[in-house]
């Protein structure tokens, strides 16, 4: 049976005895039918294998990237040891490298951006998912939000530098901190705008998927719209909303170009959220081309490894939280 499937031949033995004993037309008809079903099975097999191959390639790619990062950062790991993670000086001239200011800058700017963006993304998700799922205005809003994700990050950087930074500067002089303009706060604002669409569109589709009988039952019990959202829609969709927020955090952690242009790029530890700082991604982008010493280059790659691991850890924690939400 197996061999005849593979070479596409249909032999007499593949046909039921009942057919073999009947008319020649019936035999040829049955042969055709059998041939077609063999072809279907073969297609099915090919397609299944292709899918598996695709999945496997992704796994190999990620493991390969991790392996490359580990191998290439070995010289710096050997030279600097674990104190690389918490030492505070980044001095390429004297071959002293410490990732702490950049680790801090990355986490600070990303989480600040996340907190700024959450009210917006959840509000957009509820508005589009529950209040106005159809019509020209919601459609326009939906497309606009999706467009935000499609704009190249360098454009956000330019816009941030030209428009946002002067506004932040006057805000800073109004509240009495050093009016520099660029810094962690500016980069968080830019990042917040950039990551809104991720949480918003996932949240919107989650809210759309809330079964209408649940909502109708709540309305039937006399609940107001706000009460329905609070006690039916949000509890039902919280794991999805959280997954969207996690997705946007991942985007914020890795964003390079726009952040580099407005964060101020100093290796000093930021004193407050208005101070200039630096992120791991922007240090790599800035210094990679001119890293002229082996340990320097390796320290930059180790920075990439740390960023990779930070992303993995945050994702794992997020998965745990999502699991807890859904198990309740």
């Amino acid at each position: 049976m197996d061999t005849s499937v593979e070479n596409g031949m249909v032999t007499r033995s593949d046909l039921p005895l009942r057919v073999i004993n009947s008319t020649p037309e019936a035999i040829s008809k049955a042969k055709k039918r059998a041939k077609r079903s063999f072809r279907q099975i073969r297609t099915e097999n090919v397609f299944k294998k292709t899918l598996m191959l695709m999945g496997l390639i992704m796994v190999i790619l990620v493991l390969g990237i991790l392996l490359t990062l580990i191998v290439q950062s070995l010289p710096s790991v050997k030279a600097l040891g674990p104190k690389y993670l918490w030492s505070k000086v980044w001095d390429p001239v004297q071959d002293i490298y410490g990732a702490w200011p950049f680790l801090l800058g990355t986490l600070l700017s990303s989480f600040l951006a996340l907190f700024i963006s959450i009210p917006f993304s959840i509000a957009i998700a509820i508005f589009l998912g529950e209040y106005h799922p159809k019509g020209w205005l919601p459609n326009f809003l939906k497309n606009t939000v999706e467009l935000i994700a499609a704009v190249p990050s360098v454009i956000y950087g330019f816009w941030g530098l030209a428009v946002l930074v002067p506004i932040v500067r006057s805000f800073e002089s109004a509240i009495g901190v050093d009016p520099i303009g660029v810094g962690i706060f500016s980069s968080s604002l830019i990042l917040a705008v950039m990551i809104i669409p991720y949480a918003a569109s996932l949240g919107r589709s989650m809210i759309n998927m809330v079964p209408s009988h649940l909502k109708e039952a709540a309305y039937g019990l006399g609940a107001t719209r706000w009460e329905v959202i609070r006690s039916v829609v949000l509890p039902y969709t919280k794991s999805g909303l959280f997954a969207g927020i996690l997705l946007s955090l991942g985007r914020a952690l890795g964003e390079t170009m726009a952040v580099t242009m407005v964060i101020g790029n100093t290796s000093l530890i930021p004193k407050n959220i208005f101070a200039p700082g630096n992120t791991m991604a922007s240090v790599i982008a800035n210094e990679f081309t001119e890293a002229d010493k082996p340990v320097y280059l390796s320290a930059l790659i180790e920075l990439g490894l740390v960023l990779f691991l930070v992303t993995v850890v945050i994702n794992l924690i997020g998965k745990k939280i999502i699991d807890r939400f859904t198990n309740e």
Binding site: T50, V93, G181, T260, G264, F288
Partner: protein, 370 residues
Amino acid sequence: MKLNSFQIKRSLAAGAFFAIISASLVSCGGGGSTSGSDSTSNSNSDDNALIGAGSSFDNPLFSKQFSEYNKTSGLKVNYQSVGSGAGISQLTNKTVDFGASDAPMNGKQDSALTAPAIHIPITAGAVVLSYNLPEVKDTLMLTPSVLADIFLGKITKWNDAQIAAINKGVKLPATGIVIAHRSDGSGTTNIFTTYLAKVSEEWSTKVGKGSAVNWPVGLGGKGNEGVAGSIKQTPGAIGYIELAYAVQNSMPYAKVQNKAGNFITPSIASVTAAANTQIPADSKISLTNTDAADGYPIASFSWVIIYKEQKYNNRSLDRATKLVKLLSWMIHDGQQYSSALTYAPLSAAAVSTGDAILKQATYDGKPILQ
């Protein structure tokens, strides 16, 4: 049933499509890992094209020079503006015919080479100090020690007595000084920090020189445009940018006192003058803090770096000759395109040193240029 077979065909086609993509992905991955060693054989395939990589500072000049040279000789030059450090590492891997760098190779880069290389000075550039002081109408003047103290964060206000003492009669505002520096590793930073390390003992021990350093104070901007953006936007800012960039964007820049004690306005002429000094035979000299009386002190050569022995990796004599002839043309006839692009033409001393160095290039032990 008809529809069914159509669907099968479609899924088959989709499967084949994915398979092709995945195959090409895999082959890309495989190719990437070996490219370091064997890609020179690719570059040899077209004998009428040379490949170079390195300094982004040189790129506008090189583009002009190579397109002009192409008109007369038909030779194509493919120059990748990837940064000086990357250019040197590509030369080290022998994936290019020449590298271009804003700084001569350092000891570690030298020891990574398998064969000796020679440096040919190709053009000169300057780093200027641009500032944002709308109240100040005269050109700001700076001495080396004040400049170092500003960048060390020791002078923090524009109306500091030390700055006022140099700029007599200029009404300086009480605004704080905001330093703007390059955040990306760059030859410009290397020239500027080399200069500061020469004129200030404290800078040399505390910060040092390099294409990226640990800045005591200030904001980093990516590229000349990033630094220029910080300067333009922030009142009281001062930062260093390339002369060409400052001229083309008409930004104000300071006069700097040179070793002879004169305050020099950076210009093409004063940079060429800076190079009119004693140049060592290997041309690896920093023009910063030049001895020349009318030379601008924060200037530097940019070099093209090639292997001294041109017979390596099956290179042909023809290819080696074309390369050396191109470089010879660049330091002679090619210099006429410098001024229009705000590069300083090579001084007479630099051209004759370059000639002598090019004569050292050999193919199979025999000199290429007669």
